[in-house]
C-alpha cells in the first residue's frame, strides 16, 4: 500500500448507522442529479423554460420537456437556437414577470456570458442550473471553471454537495432571487452528480407551495398597458446609482441566505448553511476547503484524522466572508488552510484560494492551494490523503515537496 494511502471504507458515512430519517410530506426516490434539478424546477412552478442541449446538462431539459408535454407541469417550454438565445429568452420572460428556469453547462454558459451580465444588471430574478464542465479542448467532465469564471457577472452562486442539496437549494434560491431581484446559479458536478443516482427526498408539491408561493408581479414588469422603456442608454450620472443599489442588495445576500436556510430547515427538516464546518475547533491543525461532491469524499477521509477539519463552501458568490470567518473563529493561528480546486482560472491560485485569501486577509494562516480533479479527474480518498500527507510532513526530515500551489496528481 502506498504510504499515504489508507483503507477508507470503514470511514464512509452510513445512513443505516445514523438511523433512517423519514421526512414527513416527502417521497423517497432514487434519482440522478439532473432529474432532481428538473424535479425542483417543477416543484418551484417555473413557468418559462427556454432550452438548449449540452452534455452533461441535457437530461435536465429533456426531463422538463417531458414534464411539460405530458401535462405534469404548467410551463411554456421552448427549444431555442443556442444558449445565448436561451438566456436572452429567459431575460425577456423575466422582464414580463414569469418565473424562469433553465440549465446549461460549460461552453453553453460561456456562450451566454454576455446575457448573464444583462440579466443580473436588469435585476431579473431567475434560477438556473449549471452542470460544471471546462472549456475547449473538449472535455465534458466535472470541473467548476465554467461557473467560477462567471463569478463577476452579478449572479449569486450556490454549489451543491449532493443532489438533495441541489434540489433543496433551487427551492431556496427562488426565494432569495425574487426577494432581491438578483439571478441565482445553482451548480452541480458533471457525472458525479448529474448522472449518478442518489436517494433523494422529494417534497410534496403543497409543502413547496407553502414555502415558495406562486410568483407575484411586482409592478415593475413590462405589462404593455402602462408603457415603460427599460434598458435604454444610461448616462454616467445615473449609471452609478444602479450599481450602488445592486451593491447594497448584494451585501445582504449572505444574511438572507442564512435566513432562508433556517426557514427551510423549519419547513422541510434539512439544514443548510452558507458554509459547512466539520471538525473545526481549537484542536484543528489543518482545514480543507472544498466545494461540491468532493466534499463528501474529503469528509470521509478526515474522520480518521482528529486534527483535520473541513470547510465546505455552499454559497460562493457573493463570497460568504462573514460565514467563513465565523466558521474559523476557533481555529488556531498556526493552523494550515488547504484549498482543493476543481477549477483553473488561468491564474496562479485557483478560485477558492483567491477568495479565501481575500476573506482571511489580515489573518496569518498558512495557506496552500491544491489543484485536483480538473477536467473531471476523480478526486478519490487517495488524492485527499496525499494532500494531508504533504501538509503533515511538510517540515519533516523526509523533505516532502510542498509549494504554496500544488498540482497534487502531477507533481510529487
Amino acid at each position: 500500500m502506498n504510504k499515504y494511502q489508507t483503507d477508507y471504507t470503514d470511514t464512509l458515512d452510513s445512513t443505516a448507522e445514523k438511523g433512517f430519517v423519514k421526512y414527513p410530506r416527502h417521497e423517497s426516490m432514487i434519482m440522478k442529479g439532473n432529474f432532481a434539478a428538473a424535479e425542483a424546477a417543477k416543484l418551484c412552478r417555473a413557468g418559462f423554460i427556454p432550452a438548449y442541449p449540452i452534455t452533461p446538462q441535457t437530461s435536465i431539459v429533456e426531463q422538463l420537456s417531458e414534464k411539460v408535454s405530458s401535462g405534469k407541469m404548467d410551463a411554456t417550454y421552448i427549444n431555442m437556437d443556442s444558449e445565448h438565445s436561451v438566456f436572452a429568452a429567459a431575460m425577456g420572460a423575466a422582464i414580463v414577470g414569469e418565473r424562469v428556469f433553465t440549465a446549461t453547462s460549460g461552453q453553453g454558459l460561456f456562450y451566454a456570458h454576455e446575457v448573464l451580465h444583462a440579466i443580473a444588471h436588469f435585476r431579473l430574478p431567475m434560477v438556473v442550473c449549471n452542470v460544471g464542465r471546462p472549456s475547449i479542448p473538449w472535455n465534458i467532465w466535472s470541473d467548476q471553471s465554467d461557473s467560477l469564471s462567471q463569478r463577476d457577472t452579478g449572479w449569486i452562486q450556490f454549489y451543491g454537495e449532493s443532489s438533495q442539496e441541489v434540489l433543496d437549494t433551487i427551492i431556496q434560491s427562488y426565494i432569495i432571487s425574487e426577494k432581491l431581484e438578483i439571478p441565482v446559479m445553482v451548480v452541480l458536478d458533471a457525472f458525479y452528480q448529474s448522472h449518478t443516482s442518489e436517494n433523494i427526498w422529494v417534497p410534496e408539491q403543497s409543502l413547496v407551495d407553502e414555502f415558495l408561493p406562486k410568483k407575484k408581479l411586482t409592478g415593475k414588469e413590462v405589462n404593455a398597458e402602462e408603457p415603460i422603456a427599460i434598458g435604454g442608454l444610461i448616462p454616467p450620472e445615473h449609471y452609478e446609482k444602479f450599481n450602488y443599489a445592486f451593491w447594497k442588495d448584494m451585501n445582504t445576500v449572505e444574511n438572507l441566505s442564512t435566513e432562508v436556510s433556517d426557514r427551510f430547515e423549519k419547513h422541510f427538516g434539512r439544514k443548510y448553511q452558507n458554509v459547512e464546518a466539520v471538525n473545526i475547533g481549537p484542536h484543528t491543525k489543518t482545514v480543507l476547503v472544498t466545494m461540491s461532491s468532493l466534499s463528501t469524499t474529503a469528509k470521509g477521509v478526515i474522520r480518521k484524522y482528529p486534527e483535520v477539519g473541513l470547510l465546505k463552501l455552499r454559497l460562493f458568490k457573493p463570497f460568504p466572508k462573514k460565514s467563513v470567518n465565523e466558521a474559523l473563529k476557533e481555529l488556531p493561528g498556526d493552523a494550515v488552510i488547504a484549498c482543493v480546486e476543481r477549477n483553473f482560472m488561468g491564474d496562479h491560485f485557483g478560485a477558492i484560494m483567491q477568495e479565501m485569501k481575500r476573506a482571511l486577509y489580515s489573518k496569518n494562516y498558512t495557506m496552500y492551494d491544491f489543484y485536483a480533479g480538473v477536467g473531471g479527474k476523480d478526486v478519490s480518498p487517495i488524492t485527499i490523503e496525499k494532500i494531508l500527507y504533504k501538509i503533515r510532513n511538510r517540515s519533516s526530515a523526509d523533505k516532502v515537496h510542498l509549494d504554496e500551489v500544488n498540482w497534487i496528481d502531477i507533481e510529487n
Partner: protein, 306 residues
C-alpha cells in the same frame, strides 16, 4: 384636389423629440408603425440607431413599451416576452422587434432564424440602411456592392454583394415577409397593417435612408428611396409561405445610376475608368429583378396547378 392617399398621421403614437439625424428613416418608419400597432405594443430593440433614437434613460419616444436588449438576440428576447405575455393572457399584445441591418443580417441572424423557424408570434422590422450606422458607417453584410464605408474605404470599397435576406427569410416558410419603402407610404402602411393582422413570424424590411452614412442630402431621403424602387435596387415585394408577389413594377426604365449618383458613398464609381463597375451593378440589379419575376411566376404556376 384630394390626395390619392392620405398618410398624415392623425393620432400620433410617438412623442415629439426623436434623436434621429435629419433625413433618417427610422423616425418616419416608427411613427407610421406605431400609429398602426397602437399603444399596447411591446417593442424589443437590439443595439441599433433606434436604441438611441428611442431615447436615453429615463425617456421613451414611443407611446408603447420598449425593451432594450443585447445586439445578438432581440428575437430571442422577444420570444421570452411573447411567451410571458401569452401566459398572462395577453395574446393580443403585439411584440415587435425594431432592428437594423447589422442586428439582422449579421449578429442577430441566428436568433432571427431561430424565431422564424419556431414560428414565434412576433413582428420583425428591419430598417436596412446598409451599414453599421450607429457606430459610424461600418460595412455590414447588407452593405451594397460598390459602397464606401469606414471599413471599406476609398479604393477598398465593398466588392461583395449583400446577403439576400428576404430570400433566406422567405425560405423559412413564414406567413408574411415584405419589403417596404418610405417613398411608397400607401404600400408600406398596407403591409404594416397586414403584418399586424397576421399571426406567426412576420418580417418587414424597409429601405432605410441615412444621410450621414450614404452621404446624401437629408432633403432627398424620400426621392432617393423612390429612385431605389424605380431602379429596382430595392424592389417592393411580399413573400407569403414561399410565394413571391411583386408590389410595384417600375413603369419607366430607370438606370441604377439615377439613384446612386445622389449618394456620396458611390461617388468614386462615377470617376473615369470605373464605368465597368457601374455596369456590373446594373447587370446584377437586372438579373436580380428577372429572378424576382421568375420567383413570382413559380408561385403563380404552382397555385394554378394545385
Amino acid at each position: 384636389m384630394e390626395p390619392l392617399y392620405d398618410f398624415v398621421i392623425k393620432d400620433e403614437k410617438v412623442h415629439p423629440g426623436a434623436l434621429s439625424c435629419r433625413g433618417c428613416g427610422w423616425s418616419l418608419l416608427v411613427r407610421h408603425l406605431a400609429s398602426i400597432m397602437g399603444e399596447e405594443t411591446v417593442y424589443v430593440v437590439p443595439a441599433s440607431c433606434f436604441s438611441i433614437i428611442a431615447g436615453p434613460y429615463p425617456m421613451n419616444e414611443l407611446k408603447g413599451s420598449v425593451v432594450h436588449t443585447i445586439f445578438a438576440a432581440a428575437p430571442a428576447t422577444a420570444t421570452g416576452v411573447r411567451a410571458a405575455l401569452d401566459r398572462q393572457g395577453k395574446k393580443d399584445v403585439p411584440v415587435v422587434v425594431l432592428a437594423g441591418d447589422g442586428g439582422t443580417f449579421d449578429i442577430g441572424f441566428q436568433s432571427m432564424s431561430g424565431a422564424a423557424t419556431r414560428g414565434e408570434n412576433i413582428l420583425y422590422i428591419v430598417n436596412n440602411n446598409g451599414a453599421y450606422m450607429n457606430t459610424g458607417i461600418q460595412t455590414s453584410s447588407a452593405t451594397p456592392f460598390g459602397a464606401v464605408t469606414t471599413t471599406n474605404p476609398g479604393p477598398g470599397y465593398k466588392k461583395t454583394w449583400p446577403k439576400d435576406l428576404m430570400g433566406i427569410v422567405g425560405a423559412h416558410n413564414i406567413p408574411y415577409a415584405a419589403t417596404g419603402s418610405l417613398a411608397f407610404m400607401e404600400d408600406l402602411r398596407t403591409k404594416m397593417a397586414r403584418a399586424r393582422d397576421t399571426k406567426g413570424f412576420r418580417l418587414l424590411m424597409i429601405d432605410g435612408p441615412c444621410p450621414p452614412g450614404h452621404k446624401t442630402d437629408p432633403a432627398l431621403s424620400i426621392t432617393i428611396g423612390r429612385l431605389a424602387v424605380e431602379s429596382k435596387l430595392f424592389p417592393l415585394f411580399e413573400i407569403e409561405h414561399l410565394n413571391y408577389k411583386i408590389n410595384h413594377y417600375p413603369e419607366r426604365d430607370c438606370p441604377v445610376t439615377e439613384c446612386m449618383k445622389l449618394q456620396g458613398r458611390f461617388r468614386h464609381l462615377f470617376k473615369e475608368g470605373n464605368e465597368h463597375i457601374v455596369k456590373e451593378i446594373q447587370e446584377h440589379t437586372d438579373k436580380t429583378w428577372s429572378r424576382l419575376l421568375a420567383l413570382e411566376k413559380i408561385g403563380q404556376t404552382l397555385e394554378a396547378t394545385v
